[in-house]
Protein backbone atom coordinates (compact mmCIF):
# COMPACT_ATOMS: atom_id res chain seq x y z
CA UNK A 1 0.00 0.00 0.00
CA UNK A 2 2.93 2.22 0.54
CA UNK A 3 3.57 4.24 -2.47
CA UNK A 4 6.66 3.48 -4.43
CA UNK A 5 8.08 6.75 -3.29
CA UNK A 6 8.23 5.50 0.22
CA UNK A 7 9.89 2.30 -0.75
CA UNK A 8 12.31 4.06 -2.97
CA UNK A 9 13.06 6.50 -0.23
CA UNK A 10 13.75 3.72 2.14
CA UNK A 11 15.92 1.93 -0.34
CA UNK A 12 17.88 5.03 -1.09
CA UNK A 13 18.32 5.78 2.54
CA UNK A 14 19.37 2.23 3.08
CA UNK A 15 21.94 2.60 0.40
CA UNK A 16 23.20 5.70 2.04
CA UNK A 17 23.41 4.03 5.34
CA UNK A 18 25.06 0.97 4.00
CA UNK A 19 27.60 3.18 2.42
CA UNK A 20 28.15 4.97 5.65
CA UNK A 21 28.69 1.76 7.46
CA UNK A 22 31.09 0.28 5.02
CA UNK A 23 32.87 3.56 4.73
CA UNK A 24 33.92 3.42 8.31
CA UNK A 25 34.91 -0.13 8.25
CA UNK A 26 37.40 0.11 5.47
CA UNK A 27 41.04 -0.28 6.30
CA UNK A 28 41.84 2.87 4.41
CA UNK A 29 39.68 4.88 6.72
CA UNK A 30 41.31 3.38 9.71
CA UNK A 31 44.69 4.19 8.36
CA UNK A 32 43.70 7.75 7.72
CA UNK A 33 42.32 8.01 11.16
CA UNK A 34 45.40 6.60 12.77
CA UNK A 35 47.55 9.09 11.02
CA UNK A 36 45.32 11.91 12.05
CA UNK A 37 45.16 10.60 15.54
CA UNK A 38 48.88 10.53 15.84
CA UNK A 39 49.16 14.01 14.51
CA UNK A 40 46.60 15.18 16.96
CA UNK A 41 48.31 13.44 19.79
CA UNK A 42 51.56 14.94 18.81
CA UNK A 43 50.10 18.37 18.95
CA UNK A 44 48.72 17.93 22.41
CA UNK A 45 51.07 19.03 25.08
CA UNK A 46 52.55 16.18 26.97
CA UNK A 47 50.84 15.66 30.18
CA UNK A 48 47.90 17.75 29.22
CA UNK A 49 45.56 15.22 30.57
CA UNK A 50 43.29 12.56 29.25
CA UNK A 51 40.63 15.04 28.35
CA UNK A 52 42.85 16.72 25.83
CA UNK A 53 43.71 13.37 24.41
CA UNK A 54 40.08 12.48 24.10
CA UNK A 55 39.26 15.73 22.43
CA UNK A 56 42.11 15.31 20.05
CA UNK A 57 40.94 11.83 19.24
CA UNK A 58 37.40 12.99 18.66
CA UNK A 59 38.54 15.82 16.49
CA UNK A 60 40.63 13.46 14.48
CA UNK A 61 37.63 11.21 14.10
CA UNK A 62 35.46 14.07 13.00
CA UNK A 63 38.09 15.13 10.53
CA UNK A 64 38.18 11.71 9.08
CA UNK A 65 34.46 11.96 8.62
CA UNK A 66 35.11 14.89 6.34
CA UNK A 67 32.23 16.83 7.68
CA UNK A 68 29.65 14.81 5.89
CA UNK A 69 27.78 13.95 8.99
CA UNK A 70 26.05 16.14 11.43
CA UNK A 71 27.94 14.95 14.45
CA UNK A 72 31.29 15.39 12.84
CA UNK A 73 30.48 18.95 11.96
CA UNK A 74 29.29 19.54 15.47
CA UNK A 75 32.54 18.26 16.90
CA UNK A 76 34.76 20.20 14.58
CA UNK A 77 32.90 23.42 14.92
CA UNK A 78 32.66 22.98 18.62
CA UNK A 79 36.40 22.72 18.89
CA UNK A 80 37.60 25.27 16.44
CA UNK A 81 35.27 28.02 17.30
CA UNK A 82 33.28 27.42 20.36
CA UNK A 83 29.57 27.71 20.03
CA UNK A 84 29.36 28.57 16.43
CA UNK A 85 25.86 27.31 16.12
CA UNK A 86 25.38 29.42 13.09
CA UNK A 87 28.01 27.56 11.19
CA UNK A 88 26.57 24.37 12.34
CA UNK A 89 23.17 25.29 11.13
CA UNK A 90 24.62 26.29 7.82
CA UNK A 91 24.90 22.63 7.36
CA UNK A 92 28.40 22.16 6.20
CA UNK A 93 29.37 21.71 2.65
CA UNK A 94 26.87 19.28 1.42
CA UNK A 95 23.67 19.86 3.18
CA UNK A 96 22.64 23.39 3.16
CA UNK A 97 19.20 23.62 4.55
CA UNK A 98 18.47 20.20 3.29
CA UNK A 99 17.77 19.01 6.73
CA UNK A 100 15.37 20.98 8.70
CA UNK A 101 16.19 20.27 12.27
CA UNK A 102 12.86 19.83 13.83
CA UNK A 103 12.75 20.62 17.46
CA UNK A 104 9.79 18.37 17.90
CA UNK A 105 11.88 15.62 16.52
CA UNK A 106 10.01 12.62 17.76
CA UNK A 107 6.70 14.23 17.09
CA UNK A 108 7.16 13.71 13.42
CA UNK A 109 6.40 10.09 13.94
CA UNK A 110 4.02 10.74 16.71
CA UNK A 111 1.55 8.14 15.79
CA UNK A 112 3.97 5.37 15.19
CA UNK A 113 6.29 5.78 18.13
CA UNK A 114 5.13 5.62 21.63
CA UNK A 115 6.27 7.62 24.54
CA UNK A 116 9.10 5.24 25.40
CA UNK A 117 10.52 5.37 21.96
CA UNK A 118 10.37 9.09 21.94
CA UNK A 119 12.25 9.26 25.19
CA UNK A 120 14.89 6.93 23.92
CA UNK A 121 15.24 8.98 20.78
CA UNK A 122 15.77 12.05 22.86
CA UNK A 123 18.44 10.34 24.90
CA UNK A 124 20.12 9.20 21.75
CA UNK A 125 20.03 12.72 20.47
CA UNK A 126 21.85 13.86 23.54
CA UNK A 127 24.47 11.18 23.17
CA UNK A 128 25.34 11.88 19.61
CA UNK A 129 27.07 15.22 19.48
CA UNK A 130 25.19 17.90 17.69
CA UNK A 131 22.08 15.91 17.13
CA UNK A 132 19.85 17.10 19.83
CA UNK A 133 17.24 18.61 17.64
CA UNK A 134 17.08 16.31 14.80
CA UNK A 135 14.23 14.51 13.24
CA UNK A 136 13.89 10.86 13.98
CA UNK A 137 15.05 9.44 10.68
CA UNK A 138 18.08 11.71 10.42
CA UNK A 139 18.90 11.07 14.02
CA UNK A 140 18.95 7.37 13.39
CA UNK A 141 21.11 7.86 10.37
CA UNK A 142 23.55 9.96 12.34
CA UNK A 143 23.55 7.44 15.11
CA UNK A 144 24.46 4.66 12.72
CA UNK A 145 27.31 6.67 11.31
CA UNK A 146 28.43 7.66 14.77
CA UNK A 147 28.41 4.12 16.06
CA UNK A 148 30.50 2.91 13.17
CA UNK A 149 32.92 5.77 13.66
CA UNK A 150 33.15 5.13 17.37
CA UNK A 151 33.92 1.50 16.86
CA UNK A 152 36.73 2.40 14.54
CA UNK A 153 38.00 4.94 17.00
CA UNK A 154 38.03 2.45 19.81
CA UNK A 155 39.85 -0.05 17.71
CA UNK A 156 42.48 2.41 16.64
CA UNK A 157 43.01 3.87 20.07
CA UNK A 158 43.29 0.50 21.66
CA UNK A 159 45.90 -0.54 19.17
CA UNK A 160 47.74 2.67 19.71
CA UNK A 161 47.63 2.40 23.45
CA UNK A 162 48.89 -1.13 23.33
CA UNK A 163 51.66 -0.19 20.98
CA UNK A 164 52.59 2.71 23.14
CA UNK A 165 52.67 0.73 26.28
CA UNK A 166 54.62 -2.04 24.69
CA UNK A 167 57.04 0.39 23.18
CA UNK A 168 57.47 2.26 26.37
CA UNK A 169 58.00 -0.92 28.23
CA UNK A 170 60.50 -2.02 25.77
CA UNK A 171 62.14 1.31 25.75
CA UNK A 172 62.32 1.35 29.46
CA UNK A 173 63.69 -2.11 29.53
CA UNK A 174 66.12 -1.35 26.80
CA UNK A 175 67.10 1.85 28.46
CA UNK A 176 67.69 0.10 31.68
CA UNK A 177 69.58 -2.61 30.03
CA UNK A 178 71.67 -0.09 28.23
CA UNK A 179 72.31 1.92 31.29
CA UNK A 180 73.15 -1.18 33.15
CA UNK A 181 75.40 -2.30 30.43
CA UNK A 182 77.00 1.03 30.29
Amino acid sequence: MISPSASSASSSSKKKMKQAESKWRTAAQERIYRRRLLEALRSTASGAGPRAVKEAADSALALTARGQSQWSRAILLGRCRPRRKLLLKAGGKVRRGRRRPRPAAPVSVAVATGKKVRDRLRVLGRLVPGCRQLSAPSLLEEAADYVAALEMQVKAMRALADAFSAASLNAAAAGEAESRVV
Binding site: M1, I2, S3, P4, A6, S13, K14, M17, E21, A27, A28, R31, I32, R34, R35, L41, R42, T44, S46, G47, P50, A52, V53, K54, A57, D58, S108, V109, A110, V111, A112, T113, K116, V117, R120, L124, L140, E141, A143, A144, V147, L150, Q153, V154, M157, R158, A159, A161, D162, A163, F164, S165, A166, A167, S168, N170, A171, A172, A174, E178
Partner: protein
Protein backbone atom coordinates in the same frame (compact mmCIF):
# COMPACT_ATOMS: atom_id res chain seq x y z
CA UNK B 1 -20.37 9.89 -21.67
CA UNK B 2 -23.34 12.03 -21.87
CA UNK B 3 -22.59 15.61 -22.28
CA UNK B 4 -26.14 16.44 -21.65
CA UNK B 5 -25.73 16.82 -18.01
CA UNK B 6 -22.81 19.11 -18.33
CA UNK B 7 -24.78 21.94 -19.74
CA UNK B 8 -27.30 21.60 -17.07
CA UNK B 9 -24.59 21.47 -14.53
CA UNK B 10 -22.78 24.40 -15.88
CA UNK B 11 -25.80 26.53 -16.02
CA UNK B 12 -26.55 26.01 -12.45
CA UNK B 13 -24.77 28.55 -10.50
CA UNK B 14 -26.93 29.20 -7.63
CA UNK B 15 -29.15 26.40 -8.48
CA UNK B 16 -31.11 24.33 -6.21
CA UNK B 17 -29.53 21.69 -4.29
CA UNK B 18 -31.36 18.75 -5.58
CA UNK B 19 -30.72 18.95 -9.28
CA UNK B 20 -27.02 19.27 -8.88
CA UNK B 21 -26.89 16.56 -6.42
CA UNK B 22 -28.98 14.38 -8.55
CA UNK B 23 -26.76 15.08 -11.45
CA UNK B 24 -23.71 14.32 -9.51
CA UNK B 25 -25.25 11.21 -8.26
CA UNK B 26 -26.15 10.20 -11.69
CA UNK B 27 -22.67 10.91 -12.76
CA UNK B 28 -21.34 8.71 -10.11
CA UNK B 29 -23.58 5.98 -11.14
CA UNK B 30 -22.52 6.43 -14.66
CA UNK B 31 -18.97 6.07 -13.69
CA UNK B 32 -19.87 2.99 -11.85
CA UNK B 33 -21.48 1.58 -14.88
CA UNK B 34 -18.46 2.38 -16.90
CA UNK B 35 -16.29 0.60 -14.53
CA UNK B 36 -18.51 -2.29 -14.05
CA UNK B 37 -20.61 -3.19 -16.97
CA UNK B 38 -22.79 -5.23 -14.78
CA UNK B 39 -23.24 -2.37 -12.49
CA UNK B 40 -26.80 -1.89 -11.63
CA UNK B 41 -27.85 1.67 -11.63
CA UNK B 42 -30.59 1.00 -9.24
CA UNK B 43 -28.32 -0.54 -6.77
CA UNK B 44 -26.02 2.32 -7.16
CA UNK B 45 -28.21 4.41 -5.01
CA UNK B 46 -27.04 2.94 -1.83
CA UNK B 47 -23.80 1.49 -2.81
CA UNK B 48 -22.47 3.61 -5.55
CA UNK B 49 -20.13 5.33 -3.31
CA UNK B 50 -18.83 2.25 -1.75
CA UNK B 51 -18.84 0.43 -5.00
CA UNK B 52 -16.81 3.10 -6.53
CA UNK B 53 -14.50 2.92 -3.65
CA UNK B 54 -14.15 -0.72 -4.20
CA UNK B 55 -12.69 -0.12 -7.55
CA UNK B 56 -8.98 -0.10 -7.87
CA UNK B 57 -7.83 3.39 -7.49
CA UNK B 58 -6.50 3.60 -10.98
CA UNK B 59 -9.71 2.68 -12.55
CA UNK B 60 -11.65 4.88 -10.29
CA UNK B 61 -9.55 7.86 -11.01
CA UNK B 62 -9.57 7.20 -14.69
CA UNK B 63 -13.22 6.78 -14.77
CA UNK B 64 -13.66 9.79 -12.72
CA UNK B 65 -11.76 11.83 -15.15
CA UNK B 66 -13.11 10.23 -18.17
CA UNK B 67 -16.30 12.10 -18.39
CA UNK B 68 -14.20 15.19 -18.33
CA UNK B 69 -15.85 18.31 -19.49
CA UNK B 70 -18.87 16.57 -20.67
CA UNK B 71 -19.44 14.82 -17.50
CA UNK B 72 -22.65 13.07 -17.70
CA UNK B 73 -24.54 13.44 -14.60
CA UNK B 74 -24.69 10.08 -13.16
CA UNK B 75 -27.77 9.14 -11.43
CA UNK B 76 -25.87 7.99 -8.55
CA UNK B 77 -26.91 7.04 -5.14
CA UNK B 78 -30.02 8.50 -3.94
CA UNK B 79 -28.35 10.19 -1.12
CA UNK B 80 -26.96 13.42 -2.28
CA UNK B 81 -24.32 13.55 0.35
CA UNK B 82 -22.77 10.54 -1.08
CA UNK B 83 -22.41 12.08 -4.44
CA UNK B 84 -20.98 15.20 -3.07
CA UNK B 85 -18.78 13.20 -0.90
CA UNK B 86 -17.68 11.17 -3.79
CA UNK B 87 -16.61 14.19 -5.65
CA UNK B 88 -14.93 15.67 -2.77
CA UNK B 89 -13.43 12.36 -2.02
CA UNK B 90 -11.90 11.93 -5.38
CA UNK B 91 -10.64 15.38 -5.71
CA UNK B 92 -9.41 15.74 -2.23
CA UNK B 93 -7.79 12.40 -2.32
CA UNK B 94 -6.00 13.15 -5.44
CA UNK B 95 -4.86 16.37 -4.08
CA UNK B 96 -3.84 14.96 -0.78
CA UNK B 97 -2.22 12.00 -2.27
CA UNK B 98 -0.32 13.93 -4.79
CA UNK B 99 0.83 16.36 -2.27
CA UNK B 100 2.22 13.95 0.15
CA UNK B 101 2.83 10.92 -1.90
CA UNK B 102 3.17 10.80 -5.55
CA UNK B 103 0.16 9.11 -6.86
CA UNK B 104 1.33 5.78 -8.01
CA UNK B 105 -1.48 5.57 -10.39
CA UNK B 106 -1.20 6.84 -13.84
CA UNK B 107 -3.60 9.59 -13.22
CA UNK B 108 -1.60 12.29 -14.76
CA UNK B 109 -2.94 11.62 -18.17
CA UNK B 110 -6.44 12.19 -17.09
CA UNK B 111 -5.84 15.20 -15.03
CA UNK B 112 -6.25 17.87 -17.59
CA UNK B 113 -9.75 16.81 -18.11
CA UNK B 114 -10.41 17.15 -14.50
CA UNK B 115 -10.58 20.82 -14.34
CA UNK B 116 -14.07 21.12 -15.55
CA UNK B 117 -15.11 18.06 -13.74
CA UNK B 118 -13.62 19.23 -10.56
CA UNK B 119 -15.20 22.52 -10.98
CA UNK B 120 -18.56 21.01 -11.35
CA UNK B 121 -18.05 18.67 -8.55
CA UNK B 122 -16.93 21.46 -6.39
CA UNK B 123 -19.95 23.36 -7.22
CA UNK B 124 -22.05 20.39 -6.44
CA UNK B 125 -20.56 19.80 -3.14
CA UNK B 126 -20.55 23.40 -2.33
CA UNK B 127 -24.15 23.66 -3.16
CA UNK B 128 -24.95 20.76 -1.05
CA UNK B 129 -24.14 22.54 2.09
CA UNK B 130 -25.33 25.96 1.56
CA UNK B 131 -26.90 27.63 -1.30
CA UNK B 132 -25.86 31.17 -1.03
CA UNK B 133 -22.30 30.78 0.06
CA UNK B 134 -22.07 27.78 -2.08
CA UNK B 135 -22.98 29.67 -5.13
CA UNK B 136 -20.53 32.39 -4.43
CA UNK B 137 -17.87 29.99 -3.48
CA UNK B 138 -18.80 27.81 -6.31
CA UNK B 139 -18.53 30.68 -8.67
CA UNK B 140 -15.31 31.60 -7.15
CA UNK B 141 -14.27 28.07 -7.27
CA UNK B 142 -14.63 27.60 -10.91
CA UNK B 143 -12.20 30.29 -11.88
CA UNK B 144 -9.87 29.16 -9.21
CA UNK B 145 -10.07 25.65 -10.30
CA UNK B 146 -9.53 26.59 -13.84
CA UNK B 147 -6.79 28.90 -12.91
CA UNK B 148 -4.78 26.37 -11.14
CA UNK B 149 -3.61 24.03 -13.75
CA UNK B 150 -3.28 20.61 -12.38
CA UNK B 151 0.22 19.47 -12.11
CA UNK B 152 1.16 16.58 -14.13
CA UNK B 153 0.29 14.43 -11.25
CA UNK B 154 -1.83 16.51 -9.03
CA UNK B 155 -5.26 17.18 -10.24
CA UNK B 156 -6.93 20.19 -8.83
CA UNK B 157 -8.52 18.86 -5.79
CA UNK B 158 -11.78 20.15 -4.79
CA UNK B 159 -11.65 22.11 -1.64
CA UNK B 160 -13.66 20.20 0.70
CA UNK B 161 -16.55 22.24 1.66
CA UNK B 162 -17.25 19.50 4.05
CA UNK B 163 -20.85 20.11 3.82
CA UNK B 164 -21.78 16.54 4.19
CA UNK B 165 -21.32 16.07 7.80
CA UNK B 166 -23.97 13.52 7.98
CA UNK B 167 -22.04 11.01 6.01
CA UNK B 168 -18.60 11.20 7.42
CA UNK B 169 -19.09 8.26 9.66
CA UNK B 170 -20.43 6.13 6.94
CA UNK B 171 -17.81 7.22 4.57
CA UNK B 172 -15.13 6.54 7.06
CA UNK B 173 -16.40 3.08 7.49
CA UNK B 174 -16.65 2.49 3.84
CA UNK B 175 -13.29 3.90 3.24
CA UNK B 176 -11.63 1.97 5.91
CA UNK B 177 -13.10 -1.18 4.66
CA UNK B 178 -11.83 -0.60 1.22
CA UNK B 179 -8.56 -1.61 -0.18
CA UNK B 180 -5.62 0.41 0.83
CA UNK B 181 -5.15 1.86 -2.53
CA UNK B 182 -8.57 3.21 -2.53
CA UNK B 183 -8.46 3.83 1.12
CA UNK B 184 -5.82 6.38 0.51
CA UNK B 185 -8.12 8.52 -1.44
CA UNK B 186 -11.02 7.93 0.75
CA UNK B 187 -9.05 8.70 3.80
CA UNK B 188 -7.88 11.96 2.52
CA UNK B 189 -11.36 12.83 1.55
CA UNK B 190 -12.64 11.69 4.84
CA UNK B 191 -10.20 13.83 6.58
CA UNK B 192 -11.16 16.78 4.59
CA UNK B 193 -14.79 16.21 4.92
CA UNK B 194 -14.69 15.77 8.57
CA UNK B 195 -12.62 18.84 8.81
CA UNK B 196 -14.08 22.08 9.89
CA UNK B 197 -16.48 23.10 7.30
CA UNK B 198 -16.37 26.79 7.88
CA UNK B 199 -12.66 26.77 7.61
CA UNK B 200 -12.85 24.84 4.44
CA UNK B 201 -15.41 27.11 2.99
CA UNK B 202 -13.47 30.13 3.93
CA UNK B 203 -10.46 28.64 2.40
CA UNK B 204 -12.19 27.74 -0.73
CA UNK B 205 -13.66 31.11 -1.17
CA UNK B 206 -10.65 33.09 -0.21
CA UNK B 207 -7.55 31.37 -1.36
CA UNK B 208 -6.21 30.49 -4.64
CA UNK B 209 -5.35 27.04 -3.40
CA UNK B 210 -7.81 26.44 -0.69
CA UNK B 211 -7.38 22.77 -0.54
CA UNK B 212 -3.86 23.18 0.62
CA UNK B 213 -4.93 25.03 3.64
CA UNK B 214 -7.68 22.69 4.34
CA UNK B 215 -5.43 19.77 4.35
CA UNK B 216 -2.84 21.35 6.45
CA UNK B 217 -5.28 22.63 8.90
CA UNK B 218 -6.99 19.43 9.50
CA UNK B 219 -4.19 17.91 11.39
CA UNK B 220 -6.24 14.90 12.11
CA UNK B 221 -4.39 11.73 11.89
CA UNK B 222 -6.33 10.77 8.88
CA UNK B 223 -5.21 9.54 5.69
CA UNK B 224 -3.15 12.09 3.99
CA UNK B 225 -1.25 12.45 7.19
CA UNK B 226 -1.21 8.82 7.90
CA UNK B 227 0.07 8.19 4.47
CA UNK B 228 2.87 10.62 4.88
CA UNK B 229 3.50 9.25 8.27
CA UNK B 230 3.61 5.80 6.96
CA UNK B 231 6.21 6.82 4.44
CA UNK B 232 8.21 8.42 7.18
CA UNK B 233 7.80 5.41 9.33
CA UNK B 234 9.12 3.26 6.57
CA UNK B 235 12.20 5.39 6.45
CA UNK B 236 12.62 5.22 10.15
CA UNK B 237 12.18 1.50 10.20
CA UNK B 238 14.78 1.06 7.53
CA UNK B 239 17.26 3.07 9.50
CA UNK B 240 16.42 1.22 12.66
CA UNK B 241 17.17 -2.00 10.90
CA UNK B 242 20.53 -0.75 9.86
CA UNK B 243 21.31 0.32 13.35
CA UNK B 244 20.28 -3.04 14.57
CA UNK B 245 22.77 -4.66 12.32
CA UNK B 246 25.42 -2.30 13.48
CA UNK B 247 24.95 -2.87 17.13
CA UNK B 248 25.80 -6.39 18.14
CA UNK B 249 23.04 -8.39 19.63
CA UNK B 250 20.24 -6.19 18.50
CA UNK B 251 18.88 -8.33 15.74
CA UNK B 252 17.21 -10.63 18.18
CA UNK B 253 15.44 -7.92 20.01
CA UNK B 254 12.02 -7.00 18.87
CA UNK B 255 10.53 -3.71 19.65
CA UNK B 256 11.75 -0.30 18.87
CA UNK B 257 12.16 0.81 22.44
CA UNK B 258 14.32 -2.13 23.43
CA UNK B 259 16.43 -1.84 20.35
CA UNK B 260 16.94 1.81 21.04
CA UNK B 261 17.90 0.89 24.55
CA UNK B 262 20.56 -1.40 23.26
CA UNK B 263 21.80 1.18 20.87
CA UNK B 264 22.05 3.75 23.60
CA UNK B 265 23.92 1.33 25.78
CA UNK B 266 26.28 0.52 23.00
CA UNK B 267 26.98 4.16 22.24
CA UNK B 268 27.57 4.86 25.89
CA UNK B 269 29.91 1.94 26.26
CA UNK B 270 31.83 2.99 23.20
CA UNK B 271 32.17 6.49 24.49
CA UNK B 272 33.34 5.19 27.83
CA UNK B 273 35.89 3.02 26.12
CA UNK B 274 37.17 6.00 24.24
CA UNK B 275 37.54 7.88 27.46
CA UNK B 276 39.33 5.05 29.11
CA UNK B 277 41.68 4.59 26.22
CA UNK B 278 42.38 8.27 26.09
CA UNK B 279 43.30 8.15 29.72
CA UNK B 280 45.58 5.29 29.00
CA UNK B 281 47.15 7.09 26.13
CA UNK B 282 47.59 10.16 28.20
CA UNK B 283 49.35 8.13 30.80
CA UNK B 284 51.59 6.54 28.26
CA UNK B 285 52.21 9.67 26.29
CA UNK B 286 54.58 11.54 28.53
CA UNK B 287 56.80 8.58 28.79
CA UNK B 288 57.06 8.30 25.09
CA UNK B 289 58.25 11.38 23.45
CA UNK B 290 56.63 12.19 20.27
CA UNK B 291 59.74 11.01 18.69
CA UNK B 292 58.79 7.71 19.99
CA UNK B 293 55.36 8.41 18.64
CA UNK B 294 56.66 8.56 15.18
CA UNK B 295 58.39 5.35 15.56
CA UNK B 296 55.41 3.78 17.05
CA UNK B 297 53.41 4.99 14.19
CA UNK B 298 55.81 3.66 11.70
CA UNK B 299 56.05 0.49 13.59
CA UNK B 300 52.37 0.16 13.57
CA UNK B 301 52.27 1.17 10.02
CA UNK B 302 54.50 -1.65 9.19
CA UNK B 303 52.56 -4.50 10.55
CA UNK B 304 49.33 -2.86 9.82
CA UNK B 305 50.09 -1.94 6.30
CA UNK B 306 49.35 1.60 7.01
CA UNK B 307 50.57 2.65 3.67
CA UNK B 308 49.63 6.23 3.92
CA UNK B 309 50.25 6.33 7.59
CA UNK B 310 53.63 4.90 7.23
CA UNK B 311 54.32 8.34 6.31
CA UNK B 312 54.75 8.57 2.68
CA UNK B 313 56.30 5.24 2.63
CA UNK B 314 59.86 4.91 3.53
CA UNK B 315 60.49 8.59 3.58
CA UNK B 316 58.70 8.97 6.82
CA UNK B 317 60.87 6.88 9.00
CA UNK B 318 63.82 8.80 7.75
CA UNK B 319 62.14 12.12 8.26
CA UNK B 320 60.86 11.08 11.58
CA UNK B 321 64.17 9.89 12.67
CA UNK B 322 65.73 13.15 11.81
CA UNK B 323 62.82 15.03 13.21
CA UNK B 324 62.85 13.26 16.42
CA UNK B 325 66.54 13.55 16.69
CA UNK B 326 66.25 17.23 16.15
CA UNK B 327 63.19 17.84 18.23
CA UNK B 328 63.83 15.80 21.22
CA UNK B 329 66.84 14.81 23.05
CA UNK B 330 65.58 11.39 23.43
CA UNK B 331 67.66 10.10 20.66
CA UNK B 332 68.82 7.37 22.77
CA UNK B 333 65.35 6.16 23.05
CA UNK B 334 64.74 6.08 19.42
CA UNK B 335 66.67 3.16 18.22
CA UNK B 336 65.80 0.80 20.98
CA UNK B 337 62.08 1.17 20.72
CA UNK B 338 62.25 0.92 17.04
CA UNK B 339 64.24 -2.18 16.97
CA UNK B 340 62.54 -3.73 19.85
CA UNK B 341 59.28 -2.75 18.50
CA UNK B 342 59.99 -4.36 15.31
CA UNK B 343 61.25 -7.39 17.00
CA UNK B 344 58.15 -7.64 18.95
CA UNK B 345 55.73 -7.05 16.26
CA UNK B 346 57.49 -8.04 13.20
CA UNK B 347 59.53 -10.90 12.20
CA UNK B 348 62.90 -10.08 13.55
CA UNK B 349 64.78 -10.62 10.42
CA UNK B 350 62.67 -8.40 8.40
CA UNK B 351 62.49 -5.56 10.81
CA UNK B 352 65.65 -3.92 9.76
CA UNK B 353 64.94 -4.39 6.16
CA UNK B 354 61.49 -2.99 6.46
CA UNK B 355 62.53 0.51 6.97
CA UNK B 356 65.28 0.48 4.51
CA UNK B 357 63.11 -1.01 1.97
CA UNK B 358 61.84 1.66 -0.20
CA UNK B 359 61.45 -0.65 -2.99
CA UNK B 360 58.58 -2.65 -4.11
CA UNK B 361 59.06 -5.42 -1.69
CA UNK B 362 56.04 -5.90 0.43
CA UNK B 363 56.89 -8.24 3.14
CA UNK B 364 53.93 -9.73 4.71
CA UNK B 365 54.00 -9.94 8.36
CA UNK B 366 51.91 -11.79 10.72
CA UNK B 367 50.89 -9.74 13.57
CA UNK B 368 51.59 -11.08 16.91
CA UNK B 369 48.37 -11.65 18.64
CA UNK B 370 49.59 -9.51 21.46
CA UNK B 371 48.82 -6.40 19.57
CA UNK B 372 45.25 -6.01 18.73
CA UNK B 373 45.89 -4.61 15.39
CA UNK B 374 43.63 -4.71 12.55
CA UNK B 375 44.39 -6.69 9.52
CA UNK B 376 44.16 -4.88 6.31
CA UNK B 377 43.29 -6.17 3.01
CA UNK B 378 46.30 -6.21 0.87
CA UNK B 379 44.15 -4.95 -1.86
CA UNK B 380 43.03 -1.98 0.03
CA UNK B 381 46.44 -0.84 1.04
CA UNK B 382 47.25 2.46 -0.33
CA UNK B 383 49.51 2.06 -3.23
CA UNK B 384 51.15 5.31 -2.45
CA UNK B 385 54.40 4.27 -1.14
CA UNK B 386 56.76 1.61 -1.95
CA UNK B 387 57.31 0.75 1.60
CA UNK B 388 54.02 -0.80 2.18
CA UNK B 389 53.90 -3.42 4.74
CA UNK B 390 50.93 -5.57 4.58
CA UNK B 391 49.69 -7.78 7.24
CA UNK B 392 47.27 -10.45 6.71
CA UNK B 393 45.30 -11.60 9.56
Amino acid sequence: MEPGGSSGVGSVNSGTYTPEIAESLRFEEEIQSLIDPSFDASSAAGGSFTALLGLPANQAVELLHHPGPGEPPASAASSSPIAGDLWRLRLVEQHAVTDTLRLPFGCSSTFPSDAALVERAARFSVFATDDSPASSSGGGLSPELKAEPPDSHSPPTLPVPAEKPRRPSKRKECEKSKAKAVAKKSKSAEENTSAAKPAAEENTSGDKLPYVHVRARRGQATDSHSLAERARREKINARMKLLQELVPGCSKITGTALVLDEIINHVQSLQRQVEFLSMKLAAVNPRIDFSGLDHILSAECGPLAMGSGCGGGASDPATWASETAASTGGIRRMPPPQQIWHLDLVHPQQSSTVWENNGAAHPHFLLSPATSLVGYDPASSVPLNSNQLKTEL
